[in-house]
Amino acid sequence: MEYAISLTPYQSRKIKPAILLKYDRVYIGSEFCQNILPSIEDIKFLRTKGVKKITLLTGLMVTRRLKEFEKSLESIFKVEKKIEIVVNDLGLLRFLHLNYPKRADILLGRPVSIDYLRMPKEFLKGFFNKYNIKRIESDENNMVEDLPLNSFLKVSFHFPLHYVCMTRYCPFEKKLTLNCRHSCENKILKLKHSGMGKSPLILHNNAYFFANKPCYHKTVKRLVYKPLSYKDADRFISTI
């Protein structure tokens, strides 16, 4: 089992390097917000702190943002021979396939991976092969636990936040924008409603989550921990 920590670029600057190095891998960016994409500076920062394995997190992107990120990838590929990248946007998937076919290991990200988990394996095998997709990112305990033990799928399991929904109309900026002031940084809000039961809905960046627990199904080859505060950053890894 590989253990990873998932951080926004802002969070990565705030966590002590010694804690980062306790994990096998650092995920950097966001699967949910196109305003929190990783940059070459973020990668360089992690490298200077001694982080060996990095996974880039990306979400759905509008044309302007995708073009900007494609340029950013040019700079990244100048210093990184190969990257591992979580992709939700099929436009980005196509771009990587056409321009860097063997240099990007693709992971299909939350929130779209729930659809792929329901597709027939015959189709997925061909699709994964064509686009160099190596694994699926998930936080769906039930769906992952239902996978056959001999499934060809490899899963990275995210916890303690289970994705519920996301918006482009930012709950913190109160608008739809690409010129973000990152007012969501370091904020975790807990929303309650009697109709949802006792579990609060957790708002982080532009997405809402419920709490979940790590899954140890045979297909899960990596656990990805999202700290809810800086002091939480080594809470999970210290228990391993």
């Binding site: 759905l60 992107m61 509008v62 044309t63 302007r64 943002r65 995708l66 946007d89 099929l90 436009g91 980005l92 998937l93 196509r94 771009f95 929130p111 779209v112 659809d115 329901r118 597709m119 027939p120 189709f123 699709f127 994705y163 519920v164 929904c165 996301m166 918006t167 482009r168 109309y169 930012c170 709950p171 109160k174 739809l176 809000l189 807990k190 929303l191 309650k192 409603h193 109709g195 949802m196 809905l201 809402y208």
Partner: protein
Amino acid sequence: MKIQVGVGSHKELDYFITHGADEFYCGFSQIPSHVEDIGGDRNFRSIEDISLAIRKAHKAGKEIFFVANEIHSEFFDKTVEVIKILVKKGMDGVIIKDLTLLNHLKSINLKTKIILSTLNHCFNLETLEFYKEFNISRIALPEQLMPEEAREIIKNKLGVKTEVFLKSREYCVNFNGLCFLQFGEDKECFCRKKFILGGKEFSMPEPPDSEQLGQLYDFYNQGADILKIGRSPDKESGKIFFREAVQLIRILKLKPSRASFIKDALKIKKAFDKTMNFLKDKTRSSDRFTLRK
């Protein structure tokens, strides 16, 4: 800009044909299509019903499309079979989300129009090019895509037409199709509920009406081809949305300024809101009037 309306019964179809809708789409209760039959006839109940709808639409000189925009998994074979039957009976096209289904229809070279569902979240030109490989001829744009961000998609040189929703009436607060905030037996949407945050009320924010109507103005002037009215949870709200859409397009054709359009459109919306409020009181299902799910 044409107006497309989702229908779930012959009564609805007859109404919209009489009142001048340009084209239609419909689902089949046995095939998953994102909008299930909770709270009303939102999908037809038999192939025969849909065949009759095809004949009625064609007799009126209108096109009609079949919606099957879900991941089909265990329904896959049945979905393919139903699509083949309906295309044979004259269905003008299919609205699809499932990549596996798109791939299969391409492999069997099915001769029909393929419309990419709004649930595929085609946010950029590169994604449109990805899906063009599956012979799509139209896409329904994601609700959370702004007109200035959609410009290159709308002006695409791939021959793909674009559809937009009447977002001042039908808008999901969160990404439609990627939202799982539903509870209870009838999977009630919680996105517009009042939550409690630190002792205070919290609502998930969404754009105001003026912004949504301004976006309609921009989509129209950028050349979006179709204004889409979703399948309604009750018989009356769909009619209201349609009548409102007709009035809005009538104004847009007069080429007003953006500010003037928004002003007039807000007045129209306010007038229809009165009817909506009357219906809300009557049916006590207020949340459903502003949600497509």
